[in-house]
Symmetry: C2
Subunit: 345 residues, 2 copies
């Protein structure tokens, strides 16, 4: 006879001797005012007493909106993503939304993992997607776009600039790095680029070259690391050192911190002192960078803001005009100067 499990609107209504739609109204902040004050109080009291919890699934089904957003990122284990996710969640929570997370870079390479994740999310009827996976020109992404899913990209753009995105101003970031080195007196500067298949790899290389031109300089060398990883940075730096015969350089701008850390290792192994013989700048300003030796100068990106803003953008697009502006927001980075950069000898 007794309902031991969570009571429903119906149960509440019965308990109060009113109709469930009345209780429904009383529970909805947007229509509370349609209910007489003292009834409202009684409803609230009863809800508390019986331990009423709204059933989100039922509400979602009924009104066709799940209040849920799909978040796709390569790997939460990569330290740039936690603050992004944190920003996303803070923004979503303010509107009563939840994030559904999927890491798309599987440990074992069990392909088509993104499609699977997207499918699962669509089954959950997510209202939109926040996408921070890194590669440019994805087929699945284009498919998703054509099924007119609501999408905002994070820290990347799509190949054709058709999707709204929140990114760091990589041009500016590279300019900060290059200008800093030039101010210190460097003129022979090399670049350890990230993979061209990544939106940021491409953007930062272009930014580097642009920044050098603005200074009236020519890049000493550009070598591409085959991944954003310490080991790849190490290898790329070794290649760079091998090129020194054909043009000495005194500073290196890396496409991200892991590459810079790998470069640091390679330089240590080669007996090149940092920063006295070689200056080096990273990108992202990941945690603990101030604890490594030497503390790494790096371009700090507003990761948290990036997440927050992207979620805000998506929520706005969801609620406002269906064809709201597909803006691309660029957040300004900031140079964190530490001990890995110094005037050339």
């Amino acid at each position: 006879m007794t309902r031991s499990l969570t009571p429903t609107l119906q149960d509440l209504a019965q308990h109060l001797g009113v109709h469930k739609s009345t209780v429904s109204r009383a529970m909805d902040p947007a229509r509370r005012h349609l209910v007489k004050a003292n009834l409202l109080e009684r409803v609230e009291a009863a809800a508390r007493d019986l331990g009423y919890r709204p059933n989100h699934a039922a509400a979602a089904l009924s009104r066709g909106r799940s209040k849920t957003i799909g978040v796709l990122l390569p790997d939460i284990t990569n330290p740039v993503f936690p603050p992004i996710l944190r920003g996303i969640e803070d923004a979503l929570e303010a509107d009563g939304y939840f994030a559904l997370l999927a890491n798309t870079a599987r440990l074992e390479n069990s392909g088509r993992t993104v499609e699977v994740a997207v499918d699962r999310m669509q089954a959950q009827r997510v209202e939109g997607f926040l996408i921070a996976t890194a590669t440019r020109d994805d087929v699945w992404l284009e498919n998703l776009r054509q099924r007119d899913a609501r999408i905002v990209l994070i820290n990347r753009t799509d190949g054709r600039g058709r999707l709204p995105a929140v990114i760091s101003d990589d041009m500016l970031g590279m300019r900060l790095a290059v200008d800093h080195l030039v101010d210190l007196g460097h003129s022979q500067i090399a670049h350890l680029a990230g993979p061209e298949s990544f939106s940021t790899g491409m953007a930062r290389r272009l930014g580097f070259e642009q920044a050098m031109r603005s200074q009236g300089l020519t890049p000493a060398h550009v070598v591409m690391a085959d991944a954003y990883a310490i080991e790849s940075g190490n290898l790329a730096m070794q290649q760079l050192l091998a090129l020194r015969s054909r043009g000495v350089f005194t500073a290196v701008v890396a496409a991200n911190d892991l590459i810079a850390l790998g470069a640091l290792q390679a330089l240590r192994n080669a007996g090149v002192a940092v920063p006295t013989e070689m200056s080096i700048v990273g990108h992202n300003d990941m945690p603990l960078l101030d604890q490594v030796h030497p503390p790494l100068t790096s371009v700090r990106i507003q990761h948290y803001q990036m997440g927050y803003t992207s979620a805000r953008l998506l929520l706005d697009a969801l609620h406002d005009s269906p064809g709201s502006q597909d803006a691309t927001v660029m957040l300004p980075p900031q140079l964190m100067v530490r001990a890995s950069t110094a005037p050339p000898v």
Copy 2:
């Protein structure tokens, strides 16, 4: 006339001239076999053609299970949590479950944040909770337990050991650390403890004392840091150094890596050389620890496994006997020896 939006089972059924229950069966792996082979094929083809996506909210409502788990952790920005989360998601995904994440440590201290998160999750009808928040003896947790929510704790226990948990064997971890130092020749060893309010802070202090006893030694000093943070470690180490007059020590075991890094700073400032004058051991083995100076010896915890196992445990409890064993699983840690430990002078 045309349904431009995602078709339903009904739409599929109509399109095929069969009843929706038949389609429903065909879509359910568990009841597929009840459908004639060629009809099954037709259904699958139609589903593909019309772009059918199951509606999770409807299924959840209908069968009363959301296939969703609530994950509570303090702050995804803390590097111990990403691998835990990754493990959780991998385990959940294998069973078609999704994780709903909430960071409970708010940036601005807007209290009662856990209750709010729990409420939201219960509205989503999560089937259980994975809880990695750190403090012992939480009122909200006890409440949750009494409402018989299914719960598994991660990297912590509750005050009374009533809830199943997956933890690292802190006794063993501390023994590894102490034995390593003793093997190197140390006998005067101090401990920088974590806050007693944290399950791990307590467990590791006890583990340290126990390990020392096993070696027939007495702890040189125990000082408690007021948080798991670099700055707190720095302060605590300063206090420890001030105690040196009352008993010299040559090695320090820290309750976690951040405390150890803070201690490293304090020692550097005090002009005490590591490892020659002082050895130091961290705990957790967080990323980049091999890149700091000196590379930090640390007790590596199986974070990923911890997440994976806890999720597995919860799923089993959900599916099997309602009163399945409330096991506590202890995962063995491993000592990563690096350059911050050496024989005493």
